[in-house]
Symmetry: C4
Subunit: 259 residues, 4 copies
């Protein structure tokens, strides 16, 4: 959906997940250190959380897919316009495909953590694939746009492919707190940057539009992107530090593996 809401909606989804993770993972980290300190620290407790997360992810993806299909100027499940012989609303279909993969990821989460029929590590693998496919579709999506439009989406791609790589590493280093924090920060970045894109490309209530061809705008937005990330990371560090004060043991997860 090429308008402000079309960027704000997925942006909010990512922000919500990012902020939730920025509470969940530090908490999990503290609980793992101070065993017996809290209920959530148990393996079963966190497995239940992952199960619920999977359901929420699947529901959000379904909402996104339905919104893309049935907004007034959407395709309403029609893929090909036989009268005029061209594809119909390809943009919306592509966005719906992105949501589809997040939906599958949610489904895999539910099956992997609800039953023991799937290997647990498949949840990270599928999430990594979903994020990669999002980036992959975006990559061909933004072909041939105006300079500034192209640039802000290209910056988004850095966060997306970075997150895909980070989650792939999590398949092999599952439970590493630093990778979980990296993923969380990239997720917040993606969410806040989607809002920023909305403000830049579709300024709400009739504000001045950005000059698409000004090189200085590009340079400013690149820097602005870094500030978004600094902000995301600082929030995360602040939360972790405030939780981490309860820890009594300094040694962290990775260090235990490679002593």
């Amino acid at each position: 959906m090429g308008n402000f809401k079309g960027h704000a909606l997925p942006g909010s989804f990512f922000l919500l997940f990012g902020l939730w993770w920025s509470v969940k993972y530090p908490l999990k980290y503290v609980c793992r250190k101070n065993k017996n300190a809290c209920y959530l620290g148990s393996r079963a407790g966190f497995q239940r959380l992952e199960f619920i997360e999977g359901i929420i992810k699947a529901v959000f993806a379904l909402i996104g897919m339905i919104a893309e299909q049935f907004v007034p100027d959407g395709p309403h499940l029609k893929l090909y316009n036989y009268e005029e012989k061209h594809w119909d609303h390809l943009m919306n279909w592509q966005h719906a495909t992105m949501y589809l993969f997040y939906g599958i990821s949610g489904l895999v989460d539910v099956v992997a953590h609800g039953t023991n029929a799937l290997p647990v590590a498949l949840d990270r693998m599928m999430l990594s694939l979903a994020v990669f496919i999002e980036g992959f579709l975006f990559y061909y999506h933004i072909h041939g746009r105006d300079m500034l439009d192209f640039h802000v989406h290209q910056l988004l791609l850095v966060a997306i492919f970075g997150a895909a790589l980070c989650i792939l590493l999590e398949v092999f280093f599952r439970g590493s707190i630093v990778l979980e924090m990296l993923r969380t920060s990239l997720c917040i970045l993606q969410g806040s940057w989607l809002w920023q894109i909305g403000f830049v490309l579709y300024p709400p209530n009739g504000r001045l539009e950005w000059n698409q061809m000004d090189h200085n705008n590009m340079m400013f937005l690149t820097m602005c992107y870094c500030w978004h990330y600094a902000f995301a990371f600082l929030i995360l560090v602040a939360i972790t530090t405030s939780f981490g004060g309860y820890c009594t043991d300094q040694t962290d997860f990775i260090i235990n593996i490679f002593p």
Copy 2:
């Protein structure tokens, strides 16, 4: 072979292997969990399977090579046309070279699993190299084609190089079920996408040809590629889930390594 059959034949090979693996690896995974539950779960049983797979792979590669050489408009082992001073049927020779590496991979499988003269891990390394060489040859192969032709082959390259990387990881994380599932899904994707390429570039029984220059066709095919993958992955997850119902223990392979 630049025609429908030339894409359908290797596509079928890949589909066959992909579907076989989508049965084999989940089965192996279940057997490893429930020891004593089945004959195939024994190390010897699976080694015999890998041995037979190697033979079949080598035979398929031989069929492919012979087909490329001795089809009516093939090179018949002639590489250089001395009369007209140019290389003869380079396309067919390149395809034959791709098959050659799969043949070597089959050979290495047979030697590594039939005798104990070669390190076992060499089978994955050689398969990774064979897939990489396939992508490498394709990369220079598709140089200078029409836009749509180029694009559908470029999408194929994503699956190919993805598979090569995945198999390289398997050298180091041998037996990881998530990597085996990733490889399987990419193999099915490659097979079904080769069929799709055949339908797009050489529509059988005189259907309408695709407009090579329409940007919307490109966008649709990119999305279509994702749907192929979603389909491949869902089949795989469905099979694994149905097998996985027999498992009693939740902990999977990777988790045991990095607890």
Copy 3:
């Protein structure tokens, strides 16, 4: 700051850190081998060092940020020029952003090693991110410059992204002496190359300027870059060898992990 000092100042910071590390890590390596041989070898001793390093890094970053903002032709914290409707001194703002991330990295070091509220491995992750962001900003920074200017900064990017990758590996292989040596050598390279860039682009006291369009200058500077690295590496090897003479045991860190 597009002048000689603007390259010499950060270059000196990097050289200082690189040379300090080229003493610290070989020493740490020797101490770990010959336990009880020195005070610094204790875990607590090195943790205190990392703590102090974090403070110094944060202070240097602060100096850099203030210098970029308040030099005579700096932005003085003004980001947008409302009269002439354009961004103000974006270059200085971008440099300040680079310093900002090093500042955050210093802060994380201080918290992670001073308290036990943050996972220790986060210091490497944040340093890797800071170096990556430096490269990321440079990448868009040097867009559209003259050939030679572009080339010398592009060479710098190789050192920067190499260092970012190396430090990311350190998150997982913490304490590996070879990675620490690689990082140290790349840090020295970056420092000495920043000085070289200063001499090439802004020759001090009125020397002859370099011809920006001569392809031979480009080829010479590429080679010169390799000599810088050879020099950096040889210094490091010499220091390590002179320290390493005190070692009695040959087995090194990595070998112990993968015997």
Copy 4:
């Protein structure tokens, strides 16, 4: 040296090392499996071999450097031509720089395996850097050449960067037979391809020159490159198999690490 000998000489160096490794590593692999079977299997025996290899590598590098400097049309250590104000014989200087890094790699081997002053893993790290720098210099070296000239050197770069990556992996998975075999095969490939480049670009005794602009020549050479590799790999597999017949135990190195 832009002539046939200038490609045949380094090509022979690489072939010699590659063929030597294709004997050494399979032998080492067999000896490690059948302990007490041979003298070379002892840790000390192989360390002595690495020491001697380092000396030979350093000597070869020295020969290469001297040859580049003192051939009749070489620079004779003169870097800048002050009369005509241009750099002198930059090609030869670049080649000498490539040899320099192999020389440093030989030196590091000698110190790391002769004394215990350097960490052992540094030999692989330095070799990886030497190979990377070779590729790095080649990359800027071949800028702006004719199409075929560019293409054959670009193919060489694949082997070079592949080898650099493989050796970097060896830093962390030291002693893995599959990585050692991959490195060996890429080294043979590089050697034989350098000979091929010599034959293509500087056909000896007045044979017909290759048409630099024929796209078919490019396609043939890409395929030819793959045949070189198939040949290199098959030789290696044949040698390993013939040695490996003496093995009694099937489990290989990697499998022991990740059981």
